[in-house]
């Protein structure tokens, strides 16, 4: 009995000693605050931001060899597309967030509604979107941390579009696609999804992911206009053309007050670089879908970017315009075949085949 007690006492003493030692160490030894001298960068690029394009040198290949390489690439494309992952449909509710898609802005042309009003529509071609990678909510480390953390953390789904010849990319970039087995893509984009809305790697997302009549947000990069003056950039009036005005016809004029506030206030509108920024156009209605060419017509003509530029589309975040009827969840499952009509119109839209609009006399 006594032996046991003595051993317990010994243990306690030992642990106490260790603790004291540790305390004394922290209090006495000096630690240089190295992390403060050279802190890690606040903004880190996501893991998929690698150098994309290889420096292409002229390889003196014969015509046959080039053909052979092209065949190999095509075989790879066929091979990657033949392995279709199984996606099981799940029940949708309005709290869930689905993935978006990568698309190309193809152009703008007018359409008419059934009451005869003319509206401008933008054509967005949904490209060959494939799921490249998924980061679980715990895994995903955002470049910008929010103060206080995020509730209901979402997972991050990386999608790629526009299959290309892998030889134009770097090895590192091609490595991103190894896991999913998809042929390397030119465009990558990430979408935050609820953990329930995750798609298996290699799944293709097509235009039927969206439904006619629903509302989407479109994010694009505005036209790069370079360094612009104040009249073009902020719509200032400029100065008069005559009446003794010299050399200040397109200048902004005064930029700050005097006295106590005698400085230029932050945020003053001044000349600078205009455009080439990501901008989101929210609340655009899908008016028509073409399943043959994967095109959707969306209301409005002010989507950022020039024709043939890349945009991303996702379900709207506007709280009052979210879909009420169930949408394909996690995405549209199945092939687009002959059972699906080529053109799906919204009920408001006048089809071009329809007879001429006439108003009834009341």
């Amino acid at each position: 009995m006594s032996i046991i007690i003595s051993t317990i006492q010994k243990c306690c003493v030992k642990s106490l000693e260790e603790k004291l030692l540790a305390l004394s160490l922290t209090s006495t030894t000096q630690i240089r605050e190295k992390h403060k001298l050279n802190p890690p960068p606040r903004l880190r690029n996501p893991t998929w931001f690698t150098k994309q394009n290889r420096v292409v040198k002229e390889e003196f290949l014969t015509h046959e060899n080039k053909e052979f390489l092209r065949e190999i690439v095509q075989d790879k494309v066929v091979e990657s597309e033949s392995k279709l992952p199984v996606v099981s449909p799940k029940e949708w509710n309005d709290k869930l967030q689905r993935t978006g898609v990568i698309a190309r802005k193809v152009g703008i042309y007018p359409m008419w509604l059934k009451d005869g009003t003319r509206i401008q529509t933008t054509l967005l071609q949904v490209l060959d979107n494939h799921v490249i990678r998924y980061y679980t909510p715990e895994e995903y480390d955002p470049p910008r941390k929010q103060v206080g953390g995020i509730k209901n953390k979402k997972g991050c789904l990386l999608l790629g579009a526009e299959s290309a010849d892998p030889s134009e990319f770097t090895k590192e970039y091609c490595g991103l696609f190894r896991e999913s087995g998809v042929i390397p893509k030119r465009v990558l984009s990430r979408f935050f999804v609820s953990p329930d809305a995750v798609l298996p790697l290699g799944t293709q997302v097509n235009v039927l992911h969206f439904q006619v009549g629903n509302v989407v947000d479109v994010r694009g990069k505005t036209v790069d206009r370079g360094f612009q003056g104040v009249m073009k950039r902020h719509g200032f009036k400029g100065m008069p053309a005559s009446h003794g005005v010299t050399k200040t016809h397109r200048k902004g004029g005064c930029i700050g007050g005097g006295g106590e506030k005698g400085r230029v206030w932050p945020g003053t509108k001044m000349p600078g670089h205009m455009g080439n920024r990501h901008r989101i156009q929210k609340g655009l209605k899908i008016l028509r879908i073409n399943t043959k060419y994967n095109i959707m017509w969306v209301s409005g003509q002010a989507i950022a970017g020039e024709t043939n530029s890349i945009v991303t589309i996702y379900d709207t975040k506007l709280p009052l315009r979210k879909p009420t009827n169930p949408v394909p969840f996690p995405t549209y499952i199945g092939e687009i075949d002959s059972t699906i009509p080529e053109d799906i119109y919204d009920e408001q839209v006048h089809m071009f085949n329809d007879p001429t609009i006439s108003y009834d006399e009341k």
Partner: protein, 306 residues
């Protein structure tokens, strides 16, 4: 490698220019180099192409680009996309199954029947002279002008607007100018047309007549400086000499020899043939069905009341 290919490339480019300008006046005093290249190009063409098969289709395209100008897309490269243009064309044809859009030009007199919410009968018929035609694809428009109760009225119609019921050509003709905006400053008699005008029929197979009418403008003030626009369909303006001197100064006579500018403003002929060969069969089918319908209508037995 590239340097040896370059002359061939040039020949090809010049050939393309010439093809585009088949119907237009070709610059006579262009530089010697171009002329030499032309001969080369012609020789090249002789060797490679079998001319006879191509000629018939070429003529067709030349006709089509005047009859259906809106099928040619905007030549600005920053707005072009092959897929969009294709879809737009298919939509245009779909609309054409519902309405007959006839051949007409600036200067023709048209009657457009359209449904209008605000008119008592919910239908509106407007007769007027076409003073402008512009836009391509589904956004093609034309402007009709008439003088109604001593008031000049202009209506801009969209060619593919589904509220249009009928577009009739009352008089098919061309004027001396591409745009007739000067009618706004002309005496009202030149843009007054009877709303109950009967359609004038041209004998089949005849070319579109050109009306050589010279319009008399009202005295200044005008909406535009017409003396600077080299108008053909206008009588002598009767201005002081200084206006003509200034107009002469601002003239750009070299622009009609600017092949590059012309090239940028037009769709190359190869593309035109591609577009119209795609559209041709549809348009032809529509025409045939329309003719059949017409014949059917002719043979309807007249009722007693008639």
């Amino acid at each position: 490698m590239f340097s040896s290919l370059y002359p061939f490339y040039m020949v090809f480019r010049v050939k393309m220019f010439l093809n585009i300008r088949n119907g237009l006046s070709v610059a006579t005093n262009s530089s010697k180099v171009i002329r030499q290249l032309c001969t080369k190009a012609a020789a090249f063409e002789n060797v490679t192409n079998n001319k006879q098969s191509n000629e018939s289709s070429k003529n067709n395209v030349v006709d089509y680009r005047h009859i259906y100008p809106e099928f040619l897309p905007d030549p600005k490269p920053e707005f072009r996309n092959v897929l969009r243009e294709k879809l737009e064309r298919s939509d245009m044809i779909a609309r054409r199954t519902q309405i007959q859009i006839p051949e007409f030009y600036v200067g023709s007199i048209l009657a457009v029947t359209s449904s209008d919410k605000h008119t008592p009968g919910k239908n509106n018929r407007f007769v007027g002279i076409c003073i402008d035609r512009e836009g391509c694809g589904l956004r093609a428009t034309f402007i009709l002008r008439n003088v109604i109760e001593q008031q000049g009225v202009e209506v801009k119609f969209e060619l593919y607007d589904p509220t249009l019921h009928k577009i009739e050509v009352l008089r098919l003709e061309k004027r001396l100018d591409d745009k007739l905006f000067y009618l706004r400053d002309a005496l009202p008699q030149y843009s007054t047309f009877d709303p109950n005008m009967e359609p004038e029929l041209l004998p089949g197979g005849s070319t579109v007549p050109v009306n050589n009418l010279k319009v008399k403008l009202k005295p200044k003030p005008w909406l535009e400086r017409w003396e600077r626009q080299n108008l053909q369909g206008v009588e002598d303006l009767g201005l002081p000499e200084k206006f003509y001197i200034r107009a002469k100064e601002l003239e750009k006579p070299w622009e009609k020899y600017d092949l590059m500018k012309d090239y940028m403003k037009t769709i190359p002929e190869e593309e035109q043939t591609e577009i119209f060969s795609e559209v041709q069969s549809h348009l032809h089918k529509l025409e045939v069905t329309r003719k059949q319908m017409k014949r059917k209508r002719v043979f309807v037995k007249p009722s007693k009341l008639a």
